[in-house]
């Protein structure tokens, strides 16, 4: 099992466009729904793109807004103005 990275977000209105973007931008990601939250797993690398989320909500989305809905994560994180990346070995 090569390192799975994962992000857990609240399952609410604010997080939904973020969840949708992640699933769209990471074709091998897999969403596990539980009451109140969703855990998204992906082999090796997972990216959250500000551009994708912004397009869905019709305004500029700052990657730091993730702080409002994130529940947990697995992997090493890197963040800049355009994206958040979770991976192993970084």
């Amino acid at each position: 099992m090569a390192g799975i990275v994962s992000i857990t977000l609240q399952n609410n209105d604010e997080a939904r466009p973020v969840i949708e973007s992640i699933l769209h931008d990471n074709p091998s990601a897999n969403a596990n729904y539980m009451p109140g939250a969703v855990k998204i797993d992906c082999p090796e690398r997972l990216v959250v793109k500000a551009e994708s989320v912004s397009a869905r909500i019709g305004r500029d989305w700052d990657p730091q807004e993730i702080h409002l809905t994130i529940v947990s994560m697995g992997g090493s994180l890197d963040e800049d103005d355009e994206e958040l990346v979770l991976s192993w070995g970084a």
């Binding site: 500000a50 992997g75 963040e79």
Partner: protein
């Protein structure tokens, strides 16, 4: 088409300016005098500037996001109180899980606040120092929001009122308390390894994620809200944990054996403490989302597996006794609930035996162990109850010198035999529940031989007196109200009265 995203001052630049750019090397005083605590543990740091900050959160952004979290949280709490949200929970038995949470976990949030404030002053590197300052504020917020949330339950249910007092005195609450006391009385790097890495990165998912999801499933909107609000800070705390570990391992090869010993110690201590959560998930939630064993597989075996595989490039190995802990995931919740059932007279929440339906769920989730080892015990206790001979254990238990849990755990590989270990130190014999706890003692006997063990203290006459009623009074537990079985409790009477009114209204 959405307009192109606005360009701002690059995040990395801004972070550089607002953290590292504000730091300086002291010149009137020696740096070692200004930061006296970050060398004595033997961790060698050659270059603090190599520290990586994964979430480049500056103080101004921190205030903005935290303010927004608080606004949302208190709006929900207010409407929960306004609309009598306590009536919407699945069953009043559920509230007992929250009693254990408030008395056991909330004071730890406050301890974390205090100790991160200490680190926010005393860590030489500015990156982790700022992260510790933010975390100190987060943890204070967690303590406050939990107290606010639960103050609503305190109006309607027993067992909440004396939580800070109880945390310092009650026998099973000494388990989480001693865990944190141990961390806070260690040096800064051990504290980071204990709390930020072993607890928050490796194990906290097991506490918060299934528990908050369980709260959602049981209609407890208030707990879900504070839980997820607190948890949204946790991703930041987790990255601090993993960065500290990588940083120590990258800075100097001599750090590896020290870090490995801490990782082994704190994994084992965390595993034992989380046995309380295992019991909440398998026995105390009227509606269950996943078993402890399933949560362990997802969050330790799978997520922890990927983590330790990644860290193996530094020579760090999977914590010692991880295999035994995984084996115990099949037993720990059943054994812990059995302990509380036997000592219900001294518990600050109510207990009960699992119903037929609940036992069927436990059989399904624990095919290797439940029917074989635990169902017969619960069925026997049920028969005894029916005969009017409910079983109470009136002997005070032997406690493990390290984890402080009554020694009710079984031998690895043999669930029919209680495990005992002991060792001698300075002419006294000390007892342990497991090899993991014995190893921890033997590495730091001066520290652990001083442990404040609730049962020893009762025998020494330091807990109000020799009778159960004396000790309960000293705990501030109301006999016949806060303790004993759910059936027949004032909580149950109140709940049943509410339910019958609702049925009448519904016609």
């Amino acid at each position: 088409m959405t307009p192109p995203r606005k360009k701002k001052l690059n995040l990395k630049k801004r972070y550089e300016l607002m953290t590292r750019g504000l730091d300086w090397e002291t010149s009137y005083q020696k740096m070692d005098d200004v930061f006296p605590y970050d060398t004595f543990e033997g961790i060698k740091i050659t270059d603090w500037s190599k520290w990586e900050d994964p979430f480049r959160l500056t103080m101004d952004a921190y205030w903005k996001y935290q303010g927004e979290k608080e606004r949302k949280l208190y709006a929900v709490l207010d409407s929960f109180a306004q609309n009598n949200g306590q009536l919407g929970i699945s069953d009043a038995r559920y509230v007992n899980a929250i009693k254990l949470f408030l008395t056991g976990v909330t004071p730890l949030e406050y301890q974390a606040h205090r100790h991160f404030a200490h680190l926010g002053r005393h860590i030489r590197g500015v990156g982790p120092r700022v992260a510790a300052q933010m975390q100190s504020l987060d943890e204070l917020r967690h303590a406050q929001t939990q107290i606010h949330t639960i103050s609503h339950y305190n109006k309607y249910f027993d067992g909440f009122a004396e939580f800070p007092h109880m945390h310092d005195r009650v026998w099973y609450l000494s388990v989480p308390k001693s865990f944190f006391d141990d961390a806070c009385s260690a040096g800064p790097f051990e504290f980071f390894t204990a709390i930020s890495f072993a607890f928050e990165y490796v194990l906290t998912n097991l506490l918060f994620v299934p528990f908050m999801s369980g709260a959602a499933y049981n209609g407890d909107l208030a707990t879900v809200t504070f839980g997820f609000s607190a948890q949204s800070d946790e991703a930041r705390h987790m990255t601090l944990g993993i960065e500290v570990i990588k940083f120590m391992l990258e800075q100097h090869p001599d750090n590896l054996p020290i870090v490995q010993q801490w990782v082994d110690k704190w994994f084992w201590r965390g595993h034992k403490m989380l046995g309380l959560v295992a019991m909440m998930m398998d026995y105390m939630l009227p509606k269950r989302i996943m078993s402890w064993k399933e949560a362990w597989e997802i969050y330790f075996t799978e997520a922890g597996g990927a983590l330790f595989e990644d860290l193996s490039r530094y020579g760090l190995r999977v914590p010692k006794y991880a295999d035994i802990a995984t084996d115990e995931a099949e037993h720990i919740s059943h054994q812990n609930w059995s302990i509380f059932y036997q000592y219900t007279q001294a518990a600050g929440f109510h207990t009960w035996l699992p119903s037929d339906e609940e036992m069927a769920w436990l059989s399904e989730k624990y095919p290797n162990t439940f029917d074989k080892y635990y169902r017969p015990r619960f069925e026997m206790w049920r028969e005894m109850e029916a005969r009017g001979e409910r079983f109470y254990n009136n002997a005070l238990p032997q406690l493990c010198q390290t984890c402080q849990i009554p020694m009710g755990y079984t031998e690895p590989g043999d669930p029919t035999r209680i495990g005992f270990r002991s060792t001698e130190y300075a002419g006294e014999r000390y007892h342990f529940c497991s090899d993991g706890c014995k190893d921890i003692f033997e590495n730091e006997p001066e520290k652990f031989s001083q442990a404040w063990l609730p049962v020893h203290q009762i025998f020494q006459g330091n807990c109000g007196g020799a009778e159960l009623s004396d000790v309960l009074e000293w705990y501030h537990m109301k006999n016949g109200t806060d303790n004993m079985d759910y059936t027949g409790s004032p909580d149950q009477k109140q709940w049943d009265a509410w339910q019958s009114v609702r049925k009448r209204v519904a016609g």
